[in-house]
């Protein structure tokens, strides 16, 4: 029984004797076994070299098998291998909107950089769940024929994620991690979020240090957890006199400044240009006449002329750690499954001490 049987006709035939069609069949352990006159099991044992667990292979046979493997260039079918150990090493990525938006500036991109980086490191593939059917303008996780279970686990991206979806993920025991903090939904939700509350509070601290006393928060402060967190952080650090404005409009801004507000905090950093425009119309200068703090960094292109004071969301790191947590969940390892990462404060040029005398007594 020699190696060159590889060239024999019987190697060209399948078990049943039907000739292999034009395309060459890939070499399997069975082939190696035939070539070296052993059983398929032996080949597998040689390959996995399980010295432990009391598996013994005669050096002689071992060599014979290894030689056949070398000569044929056999490599294990990764699919079959994975099938046998029930781990597909596929990480699903779900977003309610397209992952690759046409818009120039990309909201998801930084997260994905981190996710890809860590997936690569862990030899995982990423499955973008683009097949999820779109209903009412957004993709649905759990629609008829949902393929979310194709992946071993899933990373969820998006500003707001349906609570019912989260509850169902938990209920159905589908491993997942949310990028961005989420409230409990029928159980604790694993997440890697940015610590908006702490960062917002810190920004308030800076404003107070600079001498501001009359502050205002502009934004809904509800809906997505990230909004609520900002408002909570703001409220926790701001004096009781702080105002709140649910939405941005010129009239309200007029009123606020008339009432003596010297610093406004924008829940939505993308609103900076609007405030800037409003100020220009009124002949007010930022920050001389009014300080503006962005509670985050702009996700949409913002006027270049203004370097807003605010903080940076560690997007890449969030994506990175989300994969880390997911991996731990899949391995059944212990992990901190709810993480809040600190934001880096950004000085910018829109926060300065208030003009004296503008503060009403």
């Amino acid at each position: 029984m020699t190696i060159d049987r590889l060239a024999d006709t019987d190697y060209q035939l399948t078990e049943k004797g039907t000739p292999v069609s034009g395309t060459r069949r890939r070499v399997t352990q069975r082939d190696i076994a035939r070539l070296s006159g052993v059983s398929q099991a032996t080949v597998s044992l040689v390959l996995n070299n399980r010295l432990d667990a009391g598996v013994r292979i005669a050096p002689e046979t071992r060599e014979r098998v290894l030689r056949a493997i070398r000569e044929t260039g056999y490599v294990a079918d990764p699919l079959a291998r994975r099938l046998a150990d029930r781990n597909n090493r596929i990480i699903g990525v779900f977003t309610y909107e397209p992952v690759f938006p046409s818009g120039t500036r990309d909201f998801y991109h930084p997260f994905l950089v981190g996710i890809e980086e860590n997936a690569e490191r862990r030899s995982c593939d990423l499955l973008l769940l683009t097949s999820a059917p779109v209903q009412d303008g957004r993709r649905r996780i759990f629609a008829e024929g949902s393929r979310i279970r194709l992946a071993d686990g899933c990373v969820l991206l998006g500003r707001d994620i349906d609570r019912d979806d989260l509850a169902r993920l938990i209920e159905e025991d589908i491993p997942f991690v949310s990028v961005g903090r989420r409230d409990d939904a029928g159980g604790p939700v694993p997440y890697v979020g940015a610590d908006y509350a702490a960062a917002s509070a810190a920004m308030v601290g800076r404003a107070l240090d600079a001498g501001h006393r009359e502050l205002a928060y502009i934004g809904r402060g509800e809906g997505p957890e990230s909004y609520a967190d900002r408002l909570r952080g703001f409220t926790s650090a701001a004096p009781g006199t702080a105002r709140r404005l649910p939405a941005l409009d010129a009239a309200s801004l007029d009123r606020l400044t008339a009432e003596g507000v010297t610093a406004v905090f924008l829940e939505e950093p993308a609103d900076v240009p609007a405030v800037s425009a409003w100020a220009a119309e009124r002949g007010l200068r930022i920050p001389a006449d009014l300080s503006v703090v962005a509670l985050g960094d702009p996700t949409r292109p913002v006027s270049i002329d203004l370097d807003a004071t605010g903080f940076t969301i560690p997007r890449r790191d969030m994506g990175l750690q989300a994969v880390e947590v997911l991996d731990a969940l899949l391995e059944g390892a212990e992990t901190q499954a709810q993480r809040l990462l600190p934001c880096e404060l950004h000085d910018g040029t829109t926060l300065a001490p208030p003009a004296t005398g503008r503060n009403p007594s």
Copy 2:
């Protein structure tokens, strides 16, 4: 036998009666079979709905099975399906570099927009083959444990793609489409490329129309197919006197202009700023003293002050059509598997008639 047996204890046990450990098991056809009181084979038959081949299922059982599938959210394990040589509606995306680069301006992004758009339309998921091991700084398609076969087929992205890899893809009969034209590699390569040759020739035509007679091509004109195509297009349309400069450097540019060249064609659009800077140093104005044509559009940020004359590579559409071709290949449908899409010419401001008298006789 009702669906709520899902909650029964025996569902929590494996066949052998050993309790399922902490690790979740994915729902299998066997589970569905138990739930609906049929055999695994029946479940498979229902799923694959083989009305042909004389397979009959009673509507009643069919419904029962489908109900169980709906209630459990069952999806077939993609690995098992591939092992059995079936399709999963998963399109692989392979790039030699990370799909999501850290750099702001993203080379792959526009292609991916098109790919995702079409994948979504066809209810396919995208598998980013991030698990491919990195050797010598680039991912390898065919390394030990390559999981490329996990996808039904694959879209290849990248300026230059390894010829041997292409050959092996063909040899192993793995359906794929290259984004960007590729030379044959052991067989015709399916691709969706940009028609650089035609676009380059067209740009030469414009320069000639404007009165230019002495032209120069700057670039290697070899390596990636896209470079060769540009040079070929240029050469086909340019007069025999046209010069060629393999790489960009100040001295050579000096020489070219001294020799009377009035228009340069840049293989690499990203070189525009360099030429612009050189011109500024020499006190030359573009296009008054020298016309500059970019053979493509910049993939890297380019000085904003110069709107280069050139053409636009239809990236989104290339991605879109790549998926279209791949789908056709998978379906075994007839298609034009090698496509060159036209580029849109962009007027810009860097091409103008040459200053009179500068042309040597």
